[in-house]
Amino acid sequence: MSEPVWEVFRQERRGRPFEHAGSVVAPDADFAEAWAREQYGRRGESAALWIVPRDAIRDVESWADEFDLKYRRVDGYSIKARLKEARERAAARAR
């Protein structure tokens, strides 16, 4: 296919996130808008559309974690054993 592909994102209501809806094939942005309006806005089901040339999308899928960044997340903190020990010590001190 020589014609470019345009990805269409639609927003259901103002303030909501834009979600990927589908794609259209069109020779330029104006035609892409016409097709996208027809497919994703004809019944007033969208508050807004984003129409993006597929080539302009940078796809990021790999999430290397070489530096072990667990300290930035809740699963980086395992407090169960320490909490148990702390409670035991506090109980021992109280006796």
């Binding site: 014609e3 589908g22 020779p27 497919q39 089901e45 796809d59 790999s62 699963d75």
Partner: protein, 301 residues
């Protein structure tokens, strides 16, 4: 947390989709999976495109302006579905032009119900209500398809199909509350459409032997879909005083519907291009593909 990687190994990929995993157009897909996806999705697109022809024949003969507008809108929706679905096929590697060429040459298939004639306005009502109902059962099951781009556009398609069912039901209700002759038109149409409707979801092969279930392209078996159709719609047909033309049809105590074995030879013959309207409709489609070439040329220029 690290994103779930789509497995490259064939067995691991299969385990991944069978476990409910979904994949994107940019993932590396096993060849066999891609071939199955193209076959299934292309047939779906063909069916949307061919499915408008039985209804299109009645746009000029619709009984009121309101019905004419509604039917035109439905036809527009269905062609739009075909466009969306062919886009998915294109991203999987088969250009739309090739899909259309294979459709008109008879190399690829479309659903059995679109090979039959639309004799009266009663047929239009039965198609919009019951054929669309049967189709929406299959399509809702595709919302969970392992191929995510297809599953996503199915959301929009199911949403539009829900109007179509209501439009069909409204047509039927108007006729069954009309004159005895109008009621009879509906009953006759139901008699004509019942056999194709019962064949629609395919032969009852166990889902584990269905390659489309194997790859989780479909999320339910053929018989499950048919049972869901019977459970949902037979009571609605009966409550209007219509008769379903199958003396064996009954709901068992276990909730499973019993029915006369559909004619699977007829289904096979019809979908392989030997239905009563197959040639005429393909010739029509072919003529329009040629006639509209100038539009594609203008856009490409």
């Amino acid at each position: 947390m690290a994103a779930v990687e789509v497995p490259q190994d064939a067995q691991a990929f299969l385990d991944y989709v069978q476990g409910g995993g979904q994949v994107e157009a940019t993932d590396r897909l096993p060849d066999e999976y891609r071939v199955k996806l193209v076959k299934f999705i292309e047939m779906h697109a063909n069916s949307e495109l061919m499915g408008v022809l039985p209804e299109r024949e009645w746009i000029l003969r619709a009984p009121t302006l309101q019905r004419k507008l509604a039917l035109t809108a439905k036809v527009q929706d269905e062609v739009g579905h075909a466009q969306l679905i062919y886009r998915i096929v294109e991203d999987l590697g088969k250009p739309r032009g090739q899909c259309l060429a294979d459709l008109v040459s008879g190399k690829s298939k479309f659903h059995n119900v679109f090979h039959y004639p639309t004799r009266t306005w009663g047929d239009v009502g039965v198609i919009a209500w019951l054929v669309d109902a049967a189709a929406i059962i299959s399509q809702k099951a595709l919302l969970k398809c392992s191929y995510a781009p297809y599953a996503r556009i199915m959301k929009k398609i199911c949403w539009e199909e829900s109007f179509h069912i209501l439009h069909g039901r409204d047509v039927i209700l108007a006729m069954v509350t009309g004159t005895p002759a109008q009621f009879e038109l509906v009953q006759e149409a139901l008699n004509r459409w019942w056999a194709p409707l019962m064949q629609f979801h395919g032969n009852p092969i166990p889902r584990d032997e269905d390659p489309m279930w194997h790859w989780r392209i479909k999320s339910q078996g053929n018989e499950e879909a048919r049972q869901q159709f019977l459970e949902g719609y037979v009571p609605q047909i009966w409550e209007l005083g219509l008769t379903v033309p199958d003396p064996k049809l009954r709901r068992g105590d276990d909730g499973v519907w019993e029915y006369t074995e559909p004619d699977w030879d007829e289904l096979r013959s019809v979908v392989t291009g030997h239905g009563p309207m197959t040639d005429e409709r393909l010739a029509f489609r072919s003529r329009f593909i040629e006639q509209e070439q100038w539009v594609r040329d203008v856009l490409a220029a």
